[in-house]
């Protein structure tokens, strides 16, 4: 179920004095099974772009084609599309509508008019996928959940629709480090075991570096880079110029390079950094 975007442009509050162009002339393609990170400074258009993938927004110009169907066509089945392209929003408080966890997860499947038995199975399965124990949490009040649990419930609500593509829009914001780790492990597992195409929007470069295979960098509504993760972070200077940061570990290695260390330009994990620094030091000693 590939996503194809051709010459997409979009303006916010079109036709009012507050009109503002958010996206201009975007072209990209997301293939089955990819893990794509979308990054960019605030107001670069990340969320606006992603909300076109499941037709929550309709382009002013250009086309969005999912699985060969142009979403602007009248006959496009948007309800089915939105089950295939799941979207998890940043704030769980806006996406939990029912009083209990189990009922909320059943919200999507119920909209598909599935038989009760099937809905029940989907809830069971989705809760298992995000690591919420069914007996403990099925009847649990939504408001009695912690921040991390709420986010897992929100992800389960989308998984219960059996999506082939999942969009995660800054889902770890505001969580403590332990909570972040839990959510990231759930997302990793889903991508590896279920082969769900994952589109991950985040402000955290550490998470992007650790998760994404490919990164799309947006700046002022345009695609600045679209490449493998290691390649994108080679443009460290440019990323900082547009208002992004580097992964924390690269903040250190980049300064070491400036201090004369011989290290690769893009380093995405602590292990990688340890080995590169160790190698550089050894070589230095040999040279000396």
């Amino acid at each position: 179920m590939p996503i194809e975007v051709n010459n997409l442009s979009y303006s916010y509050k079109k036709g009012t004095p507050f009109e503002k162009q958010v996206l201009s002339n975007i072209n990209l393609k997301i293939n089955d099974g990819e893990f794509v990170g979308i990054i960019g400074p605030t107001q670069a258009g990340k969320t606006t772009l992603a909300q076109h993938f499941n037709a929550l927004l309709v382009p002013d110009q250009g086309r969005v084609i999912v699985n060969g169907v142009d979403l602007a066509e009248k006959k496009a089945d948007l309800v089915k599309l939105r089950h295939n392209v799941g979207y998890v929003f940043q704030n769980p408080d806006y996406q939990l509508f029912e009083p209990t966890v189990g009922e909320d997860i059943a919200f999507g499947p119920r909209n598909q008019n599935l038989p009760p038995k099937e809905i029940e199975n989907r809830v069971l399965e989705a809760m298992a996928q995000v690591g919420l124990d069914y007996d403990t949490f099925n009847k649990r009040d939504i408001f009695a959940l912690s921040g991390g649990q709420k986010r897992r419930a929100a992800i389960a609500g989308v998984l219960a629709c059996k999506p082939q593509i999942m969009i995660l829009d800054d889902v770890t914001a505001g969580l403590d480090p332990g909570g972040r780790k839990e959510i990231i492990n759930v997302i990793k597992k889903l991508h590896h075991e279920q082969e769900i195409t994952t589109i991950y929007i985040s402000n955290s470069m550490d998470e992007i570096a650790a998760l994404a295979e490919r990164i799309i960098v947006l700046n002022q509504g345009q695609v600045l880079f679209d490449d493998q993760t290691g390649e994108v972070f080679l443009h460290a200077r440019k990323l900082i110029d547009i208002g992004l940061e580097l992964p924390e570990v690269m903040n250190i290695t980049t300064r070491l390079i400036e201090a004369g260390f011989n290290l690769p330009g893009a380093i995405l994990s602590i292990d990688q950094a340890v080995h590169a620094i160790a190698a550089s030091l050894q070589k230095g000693q040999v040279d000396a």
Binding site: P41, T42, Q43, D141, F143, A144, S146, G147, G148, A173, G174, L175, D176, P177, G178, G179, K181, N203, S204, M205, D206, G243, L244, E245, E248, V249, N251, I252, R255, L256, A259, G260, F261, I270, D271, A273, V274, H275, I277, A278, L281, G284
Partner: protein, 279 residues
Amino acid sequence: MNPLIEVANLSYSYRAGSGNEVAALKDITMKVFEGELLAITGRNGSGKSTLARHFNCLLTPVSGSVEVDGLSVSDKCNVASIRRQVGMVFQNPDNQLVSSIVEEDIAFGPENLGLPAEEIRRRVDWALKTLNLKNLQYESLNQLSEGQKQLVAIAGVLAMKPRCIVLDEPTAHLDPRSRREVIKNALRLNREEGITIVLLTHFMEEVTHCDRMIVMDMGEIKMEGSPREVFDSEEKIINLGLDFPVSAKLAEGLRKQGIRIPRKTINAEELIKSLCQLK
């Protein structure tokens, strides 16, 4: 250093939806010293926010005592005077900005203090200048980014000229660049204006800039000391739902490779310095 805020044997509990009493704070004893930069950290629900809300009378102790500059927060007569001394900035800027124009919002606090118009004007101008917001003075708040809004919220508290500002996860929902900007300004207020700062945060990189830190869990203080002392044991920190700063992790990894990085290296500057000496 003199203690500005003194907490002794503080306990607090609230009634949950089911009617049960939930203990949010258990027998807390701690101090905030005049002029220091104190970080309070701990996982969501650890009680740090509940503790901080006692510092300016938003909550009053169920048992134990909290005193600000010798004034008890439990005494209603002290509320106005304590709130003048301890300001508070919250996580979501949208829920704490009252007005719709930047300078008018900053004036809200001083106006509540009943100051004369010229004095309010002076303080608003000073707060705008101190936080480099001069160019946004007349902007409409809903045209600002979240990071800018948070700086306006800090300016609004600063204009009240408090001795202490409590920042309750001010960066939780910000992008990295705005986060850095907010923290940089908090540090500056502490170093240059001598304002005591209490920073509640989940970001370990932010904690390493502080003079002292407290780690809370389940309503209790689990660790306390300088970041260097607290970040000595990775296992303990992880068990408390937190993380190790990246510099400390990297230092640890390098030590395991036999590279001589001193223990207790917790920030990038120190790590880079040690590595450059080895080169």
